[in-house]
Symmetry: none
Subunit: 400 residues, 2 copies
């Protein structure tokens, strides 16, 4: 692991431009045909580009560990995902597009069903529709607490996000979710003496919510868990001397990008829209994080053919990105999502690095198996940022 | 290195079963024919299995470092072999099958020859036969010390093991072995104030041994070295939520397995016996460590042909193991023992990982050269446990 101070010392502001395309869930496994999604997909542009690029396979967190989106992206951005944790509450807040301040404490909130004795009988309130959630959230937004602002945001179905904003708040508090039914919600307890006031405020919130929801069914109570502040991360500007922009459709990735100081650009719903946004803002930034979600969604749905089609669509967009003449073009993923596995997995993720300064593979073909045997070999995702900066000639020599 | 707490957080109890076959001394080097032992051996089962598995080459401790059995196995079991050391005394105790308690202090003991002035004239007592060693050990077992139990165990020839058991003992004491002749044995000295009593007890033991052995020749004295307690390691149960069993013929490997909380199964003398034991106990455990010793012994003897024959015998046993339908089958080694080198070596060791969730090599062949170019590449042996757990679907996602 390179200490941050080394990047601060070596990184220089230059006009060169880097594009990092993150294909969420990029890696896959073979289906019955013996080919992975990437091998089955017709990707002539990536295949040809591979011959003029270096390939590798990135390990997001560690061997065998399947990264969530938070740790997966922190690693891509150069932050140790074991040391820097985006807690559940903070990730949920980012996921609904809430701009989490440095002193805010965010929690996941479930609507739940309580019986007359106050015991939890359904931790998910019968999975109420998102519409009901929105109506109940409006009610909860009327709650006022002494010396702390209250924000409540709908996630979906029975899930919402609670954020407290104020001075001296702490995330070292316990959950109210008992993780089982037939028992009452737990009181919030402080894990440190400094967290006492936060625990008191949260218990007040829970009591007021119970009052406001008394006439409702099935969502007549709330459960809180995963209290978290946003992690303190040095920004891309401070660390790498970059002026970075993020292009992502989903709020969580926009939020993760904001955490590291990227300017989040407005964009449309499709991957083509995202490339259009890249083109529009090309002059203003020297680093672009472009996040493509649909391959991961297809993998999680177990839809091999759809994942392959998404990869083909990305392949068709690659020449448009290259036409902008980035000094460094990289394409990788935050984790694998094999369609056969239907979930994030631990497998190393294919990574392609293109610049005039790579040692080229020489042979065409972009696949999991080509990647693990590529010029870059298997390597930690946290090393990507150094490679991008170096190939963009933004790093001075280390030592004389 | 993944902190233990991450495994504790991610590991889940599931019914899936893992078999880790450790072929002691698995890696080799080519002889004059240009082929390694593994390349020369006829191993059709492993070769075919490789096509449906991922291969890699594991580094036990670090590049260039030849691991002993202790660090070699700690790494396989997921414990940093630089941080966790099984001291010489503890390893010797494990090697004779002594069940070392958490507060015991174990030392290596040599029988030695002293002259009339008390100077060491032979540090190995003319390599007395093991039979003599056993007779002398019986004498030494009559020694009684205040508030500490004394255990003496024959290793072989001039080597034995001394264990003190009692409260407040310390292994921070110096050796009596002067490492040269013509000088008297050194007194045991404490390295910390807390070790004073242990040093006193050991000096009493040495004096009483000298009395008891006065009439003997050539073994009329003892030398002590390598005082060590057993290392404190979290168990497989606590760390990985596994219920592990060990099948090994040699006491040292049985002892190492016990250190990490494995249940050590009674087995016979041959590798076929070990597989029979695996079959008998299949239902009771979810992790099996199966240790095959003979390849290492053949390598240490410099017997290329015998090592190849041992590998062929192992190849014939592989289908029997696979017939049990483990969810994950892995075969690797704790270190290489090339027959040409006649010793443990530092070379990365071939590793084969088979499960429905591997990215398969696609081509048959299991060898050192196939392994280093395999899908898993060259990687630290300490990463094996994470891979085994992941491929057995025993790890939840890291971060949301």
């Amino acid at each position: 692991m390179v200490p941050f101070d080394v990047w601060r010392e070596l990184a220089a502001k230059t006009p060169s431009k880097i594009v990092l395309v993150v294909v969420d869930g990029l890696g896959g496994l073979p289906d019955a045909s013996g080919r992975t999604e990437l091998e089955a997909a017709h990707t002539p542009n990536l295949d040809a580009l591979a011959a003029r690029s270096s390939l590798g396979a990135t390990v997001g967190v560690a061997a065998g560990i399947s990264p969530g989106s938070g740790p997966g992206h922190l690693a891509l951005f150069g932050y140790d995902p074991i040391r820097y944790v985006v807690g559940r509450g903070a990730l949920s807040a980012l996921g609904v597009g809430f701009d989490l301040g440095p002193d805010d404490v965010a929690l996941r909130m479930n609507f739940a069903t309580l019986d007359e004795a106050g015991n939890v009988i359904d931790r998910r309130a019968g999975r109420i529709p998102t519409e009901t959630n929105r109506r109940l959230v409006e009610k909860l937004r009327t709650i006022r607490l002494p010396s702390a602002q209250v924000f409540v945001e709908t996630e979906r179905e029975y899930r919402a996000v609670l954020v407290l904003r104020g001075e001296g708040l702490s995330d070292r508090v316990t959950d109210t979710d008992p993780q089982r039914t037939g028992v009452p919600p737990l009181p919030v307890r402080p894990e440190t003496p400094e967290a006492q006031r936060t625990a008191d405020l949260l218990n007040q919130f829970v009591a007021k919510a119970r009052e406001l929801l008394r006439g409702e069914h099935p969502a007549n109570g709330v459960l809180l868990r995963g209290a978290a502040k946003r992690p303190h991360l040095p920004t891309f500007g401070e660390l790498y001397r970059l002026t970075p922009a993020a292009i992502a459709v989903y709020p969580m990735y926009r939020g993760l990008a904001r955490l590291v100081g990227m300017e989040v650009l407005q964009t449309g719903e499709s991957m083509a829209d995202e490339v259009q946004t890249l083109r529009q803002h090309w002059d203003r930034f020297d680093f672009f994080f472009v996040h493509f979600k649909p391959a991961d969604s297809a993998g999680e749905d177990g839809d091999f053919a759809r994942k392959a089609r998404v990869l083909e669509e990305i392949d068709r967009l690659v020449p448009e990105v290259l036409a902008l003449r980035p000094d460094v073009f990289a394409l990788g993923g935050d984790h694998a999502t094999p369609s056969t596995y239907r979930s994030h997995s631990w497998h190393p993720v294919p990574f392609l690095l293109h610049s005039p300064w790579v040692l080229p593979e020489g042979t065409p073909g972009f696949s999991e198996r080509a990647a693990v045997r590529g010029v870059l070999g298997r390597f930690p995702a946290i090393e990507i940022m150094g490679l991008l900066l170096a190939h963009a000639q933004k790093l001075t020599r280390y030592g004389a």
